[in-house]
Symmetry: C2
Subunit: 518 residues, 2 copies
């Protein structure tokens, strides 16, 4: 078993105390929009056809302890990560090499790449790109070395639709409220310092990132009013998370936002002769808007592309003059394959993008080793690790395809590989398992409480707005960085028996950080 | 029919526009706690045993036009109203005369008066009283005089548990958001000036009233931490309205609040030898608190007093050193009978309390004439008005008993009176009907939309903190005014076929004011 890193946690509370915390947290959550629309298994569509009901988002009742050094590291390297991914997304020739390897096993990646090629042939009309990134980590300890320091391991880097920035600001405020108002038991020494509860300003910072893009778009090509367009899924249970980015846009920046279902893009938008993107709100046909910035909260998963029209819609948007968050190239840069290529031991790629060795080594320190299962030398080594039950116990096998799910863990890897044809092995990567220190917390979901072992995943948001260097129609690098900043954090906590994250999908809970020195 | 006073209203919107407004309003409402717990007819207890679900509060989709002169009048006379009711509540000898007339027909009033007498015999230990008042009005026009100006008519004056101050701040913010973010149709000239949409600061102002009382309570009689105690009903569907007063208490003033069910007062509070009120939170028995201020959001209706223990609990609190919001005498001052006595034509009482004739006449101008149905000369006159179908058409018959309901309107009055023994007639008062100008709006409730004729009721909140003059144990007047201020407004709008207000009870909707010059 892993060694103990955190203080005794969470505080031992009586049934009455717990009930009081639950009531206070549920009321505060609704009063402050820390909420989701209920799942259809909880409230059926026939009961509430207009989706008027809401429920507190799944939350932890206590902030989770998190090693101070790991938290500080994660925040401090976010700008370097922003820069790394902007450079990847703007170096088309490099990206091409990686993506073309993927094309055979991942139709989704192939379609995205095709869109890029079509727009490139025609010529891009927008050289600015916006990234609202999120780099996700877990805390790792060496289970066999009791004196080793806790360190960060990156789980993934999100370049599209990084969610929970809205709710994260709210949960950190809730935990502070519960402490400040004396709702937590007073005798909990580990919970007695408000300064160690870390506020996440992610909602306002991400919104200000969209505002920066809107501003950088300039006065536009038409005399129409300008807007930011959120491209969304329908129905969207996690709508309040997104609304918490929309409200500061209008309140703090005076920028109007509209929400458009991914499936309705072709119906309500068109390109004028200069490929300016015009959105005509169906509820107000007399007031078309020029779209400065497209913010994708849909279109990231193959399941969003239900028909050829979906691909036509994505192409249509990519052709436009609007600033995309993200562009196709930026979206592709978030592929697991890229993460793997960077994190393969002895890979030259990281230092290619970040020649400064201090920067690249601080990023390298957060990588969990990832191996391909192909016919390269590294792949051969990985195969031998994966087929041996003892060594496989330190790894997880992940499909290279996007869309999550279907990870194979530890000792199940050898039998799984043997059950599929060897030609399919390159469709997977082998990643070293992360060993988070044991921790307990209490999760509240739909009014029900579950206490137990949990694993926290820290996400650090980043805002990156840059101008691509376009030479002969080709993206050849970063021309200019307009904005590069760290933009708050998310702590997502799930039961340690669950292997997939995603709060609104019903697996995890939003949480906040209580710093501890370990 | 009444003449037209308001511009064509609400704007004529298409089905798509309406759907967009509904979606935007529903999301904003949950994101900002403009919410209630759903009625059991919507979500049953078995479906959601921990009351985790919430729904947007019933709201109007548009702010309602309201005559500027009436709105300004209502706000400007609130301090005079605060003073009037503080003087009534602190002049026991006068109050006694009125209440003793009521004792025979209203057991509830009698019981309240008994509590006062018991505490008086023992001696009051707290001379400060807090009122969070709300004076409710309708706009009145003379249906037969097209050139007459719209004026205010008072409906009632609330001295206990004045609700919706929390939600009112939120609905005024929602309507401003819908305007500012372009969700309202752009071509609506009557809705084009943000300055005419009036923000209600009621939540923060009422909270600051509680904070002033807490501060005036002083350092207390014990070394225990001090708190404000909300005495509440359970279950409480309108809980977020109350929470919006609790949050600024902790955030703006650092004052802790607790919520205690009216039925559990005797279980969790006790008086020490100096009659200091000690609250021991059941969830934290080791941290008893000294209660500085009792805020009643329960105990105002006979239905809250389900057993002799309920009355024992009210006596117990009244005996205590805590500042009561309201005290028994203040609670009694809100009786309908008091309003009737003040508003009976040619009554000397108003000028008794407000000798300054400018002040008293500005208040008098807001009274709808109210008549007793007793054996006095005024009563005899009223009987002849009520028994005649033609003259009765201008009146409403209201029971003097507290608790609402069972009003008899217009032409139904004569038959009703004849159906009951004449000895019971004095249990009713006859009030001149108010003629509000015709108005339409759209009400959203549980996701369903209803458009139609509406009547708006304007409530103006007031904070009044005063020291009573106690001579020989008797309340003989106001010794000192510590705080007297107007504290924001509420607009409550209901269908014009419904005759009773009360949003959470399912009859009305919260609304906000758009000033118009009529």
């Amino acid at each position: 078993m892993s060694r103990d890193v955190y203080p005794e946690y969470p505080p031992d509370v009586s049934g009455m105390q717990l009930r009081n915390i639950v009531t206070s947290a549920q009321d505060w959550s609704i009063a402050h929009g820390l909420a989701v629309r209920p799942a259809p298994t909880f409230v059926s569509e026939s009961q509430d056809p207009t989706t008027s009901l809401a429920v507190a988002a799944p939350i932890t009742l206590f902030p989770s302890p998190f090693p101070r050094n790991c938290f500080e590291d994660a925040l401090s390297i976010q700008e370097a990560y922003n820069e790394l991914y902007a450079r990847i997304a703007s170096e088309e020739s490099w990206l091409k090499g990686v993506v073309e390897e993927l094309v055979e096993i991942d139709e989704f990646m192939a379609e995205l790449w095709n869109i890029h090629k079509k727009v490139k042939d025609e010529g891009y009309v927008q050289d600015l790109s916006l990234g609202l990134f999120r780099s996700d980590y877990m805390v790792n300890i060496d289970p066999e070395n009791a004196t080793s320091k806790a360190s960060l391991r990156q789980v993934e880097f999100n370049t599209i639709a990084s969610s929970f920035g809205g709710l994260s600001s709210q949960i950190s405020a809730l935990h502070k409220f519960l402490l400040k108002s004396g709702i937590y038991p007073p005798d909990v020494s580990s919970l007695n310092n408000e300064n160690e509860l870390i506020e996440s300003k992610s909602a306002r910072l991400l919104a200000s990132g969209l505002a920066e893009a809107h501003k950088a778009y300039g006065s536009g090509n038409t005399s129409l009013p300008k807007c930011v367009l959120f491209v969304v899924q329908t129905p969207e249970r996690n709508v309040f998370d997104q609304r918490h980015l929309e409200y500061p846009l209008i309140y703090d920046h005076g920028i109007r936002t509209y929400r458009l279902a991914f499936s309705e893009i072709l119906k309500h938008t068109h390109l004028d002769s200069t490929r300016t993107l015009i959105y005509t709100p169906p509820h107000s046909p007399s007031t078309p808007h020029e779209v400065s910035t497209l913010y994708f909260r849909a279109g990231y998963a193959p399941t969003d592309y239900t028909s050829p029209d979906s691909w036509a819609a994505r192409l249509h948007l990519e052709r436009s003059r609007a600033i995309k968050c993200p562009s196709i190239l930026t979206h592709l840069s978030g592929a697991k394959k890229i993460q793997q290529v960077l994190a393969t031991p002895s890979s030259p790629h990281l230092s290619h993008f970040l020649p400064d060795s201090t920067t690249s080594s601080s990023i390298l320190a957060t990588f969990a080793p990832i191996y391909p299962l192909d016919n390269t030398a590294a792949g051969q080594h990985a195969r031998s690790l994966a087929l041996n039950r003892a060594s496989a116990a330190n790894f997880v096998l992940k499909p290279q395809r996007e869309g999550g799910g279907n990870n194979i863990y530890r000792s199940k890897i050898p039998d799984f590989l043997k059950s599929i044809p060897e030609t399919q092995w390159p469709a997977y990567i082998l990643m070293e398992m992360i060993n988070p220190p044991p921790l307990k917390n209490v999760i509240l979901r739909n009014g029900e409480v579950q206490k137990g072992g949990v694993i926290g995943e820290l996400g650090v948001y980043g805002v990156m707005l840059w101008r691509n260097k376009l030479v002969g129609g080709e993206h050849t690098g970063v021309e200019e960085v307009l904005v590069n900043k760290e933009a708050g954090y998310l702590l997502r906590t799930k039961g340690d028996t669950s292997e997939e994250g995603g709060v609104a999908a019903g697996f995890g809970a939003v949480d906040s950080v209580m710093l501890v020195d370990v």
